[in-house]
């Protein structure tokens, strides 16, 4: 039973917005919480891992890190295959997945993403097949480069997918999420490289992980400072715990990865541990962002407060006409 007067927010949710002026309808949410299940944050992680791995694979291929390139291609192919399964499975009517392909709409990030994935997935699979079997090397190189070009789009469009909603925690962070997501994708791809190949062959992966972790942490800091009341949804509850864990794993993984692959005596065990931490950190971060959105949709204060504030700002300089529509 949706209890009367239920105040939103999770256990341990600190009241950041003063409740004095906030009114709501029995504490019920204004916007609907997403109907997406855990398949979607899993996809955010796997799609990012795939996209960034393809970029890393293309770079490693061109700069002669062939062992790393092969591992990154295999990782991208595996991750994108799991992604597609997760995406189809999350539909209310999975058999109608192909209906996505009857239109192309720039106003729908999901439509754009579907077409990007439709181009990217065959290339990623072809690049991996060629690398692992040794067949058709020229076609394999072309596929590697093609996947490398589309990879960044695969890794970044998902931020727009979340930003283009009425979910306050996601929409208010629409400027920062692309950087958070590509950063998180880079740490994941770097982590996979550190796990898959010996440290001496994984130097680009370690460097990518460091750059990715830096971008990720910067974006999270900006979210905390810039997006207004919705930032509380990233700080508190399950989302806050997940994001803090993600930060610790990213920093520890990037530092350990750099230590193992770039500085001093290479250590395989340290590199594998660092890579695992980076992968786990990226996954946990995506679940954290997903949870922040869900929590922000559940609590009406995140929807009402910023809109109220906007109206106050709009009215105060020009003294709006009372009784007309709006306030």
């Amino acid at each position: 039973m949706p209890a009367a007067g239920r105040r939103g927010g999770e256990k341990g949710d600190k009241q950041v917005v003063p409740p004095a002026e906030l009114t709501s309808y029995y504490g019920l949410p204004v916007v609907k919480e997403t109907v997406w299940g855990p398949a979607i944050p899993s996809y955010l992680f796997l799609g990012g891992l795939a996209g960034a791995s393809s970029v890393l694979a293309a770079g490693a291929q061109l700069s002669g890190y062939l062992e790393l390139a092969r591992a990154a291609k295999a990782g991208a192919a595996g991750a994108i295959s799991l992604s597609m399964a997760a995406l189809v499975d999350d539909l209310g009517r999975p058999a109608r997945f192909v209906n996505m392909l009857r239109v192309f709409k720039v106003t729908s990030p999901m439509s754009v993403g579907t077409w990007v994935l439709s181009g990217y997935t065959p290339l990623a699979l072809a690049a991996a097949a060629s690398a692992l079997t040794g067949n058709l090397p020229r076609a394999g190189l072309a596929a590697t480069l093609g996947a490398g070009v589309l990879g960044p789009a695969v890794a970044s469009y998902t931020a727009v997918l979340l930003g283009d909603t009425a979910t306050p925690g996601w929409h208010e962070a629409h400027r920062e999420l692309p950087y958070l997501f590509t950063g998180s994708a880079a740490t994941a791809a770097g982590g996979l490289g550190l796990v898959a190949v010996p440290p001496r062959a994984a130097a680009p992966a370690a460097r990518l992980a460091v750059l990715g972790a830096a971008a990720e942490l910067t974006a999270e800091r900006l979210i905390d400072r810039r997006i207004g009341p919705a930032a509380a949804a990233y700080r508190t509850g399950r989302a806050g715990a997940l994001l803090r864990a993600g930060q610790v794993l990213a920093v520890a993984g990037a530092a350990a990865g750099a230590g193992a692959a770039l500085l001093g005596r290479p250590s395989r065990a340290a590199a594998v541990l660092a890579g695992a931490a980076l992968l786990a950190g990226s996954a946990v971060t995506r679940f954290g962002v997903f949870e922040a959105g869900r929590a922000s949709a559940r609590d009406p204060k995140y929807t009402v407060e910023p809109q109220r504030e906007r109206l106050r700002e709009a009215v105060s300089p020009a003294a709006g006409a009372p009784g007309s529509s709006g306030t």
């Binding site: 039973m1 949706p2 009367a4 906030l22 709501s24 309808y25 029995y26 019920l28 204004v30 916007v31 609907k32 109907v35 997406w36 970029v55 700069s63 890190y65 539909l91 209310g92 999975p94 109608r96 209906n99 996505m100 009857r102 239109v103 709409k105 729908s108 990030p109 999901m110 990879g151 960044p152 970044s156 931020a159 727009v160 930003g163 283009d164 909603t165 009425a166 629409h174 400027r175 692309p178 950087y179 997501f181 590509t182 880079a186 001496r200 062959a201 130097a203 680009p204 990518l208 750059l211 949709a297 009402v304 809109q307 109220r308 109206l311 009784g323 007309s324 529509s325 709006g326 306030t327």
Partner: protein
Amino acid sequence: MGFFTDTSVCIGCKACEVACKEWNAVPEDGLLLTGMSYDNTAGLSASTWRHVAFIEQSAVVPRPAADTWADPADGDGDLRWLMSSDVCKHCTEAACLDVCPTGALMRTEFGTVVVQDDICNGCGYCVSACPFGVIGRRETDGGAHKCTLCYDRLGDGLEPACAKACPTDSIQFGPLDELREVAQQRVAEVQDSGRPEARLYGADPADGIGGAGAFFLLLDRPEVYGLPPDPVVTTRDLPRMWRHAGIAAVGLAAAAVAACRGGRA
């Protein structure tokens, strides 16, 4: 075409809810007692397309001088009971329609927004995009559903079932420009009768959703009724989102290039 819902004359009979369910064959949506005044529907969803909100306010409200229904023995009221029948707003700039990746959501010849059930694949994107929390995904069939403004009845020159059933004309149906004129007169009338707090909600084509196809006369702030005070269609910010995503994508490519420089170890 659209709705003007004048909540100042809503009596909370729920005939609109029932008529909507009956005409559109909308399935049962849970039978519960919520404890929220007389509201046991709780909100709009895939299987609730009209929802009557009941708000009991204990603030002292002076009786309007022209309130002929007031019982003199009551003196100044210490309870105000607000009732309002909520519905899909059929936004002029509709986020659900914008984000739908299959084209299942469409704009009809009446200017309304309708889900084509034979195309919807249940991705659920519209559910998160709606700034009013109207559209939902139905567990039993996996598809998204919401008010159609009785698309089938409009095609036959009939008014929507809820408006037809409303006994006080709280729900009025007609061409939007005519309804807006009626609403402007009505809100002035209600204000003059001693309720200066009366206001229109969703009637302004310059608002964040380009004006609602279903707008309201409210007697308190929108959030009291569970409505967002200043909804803006999320796709207004989409160009900026794509720009940042593009910069981030280029950044990722640049990071990979930088990481691969320095030659073989």
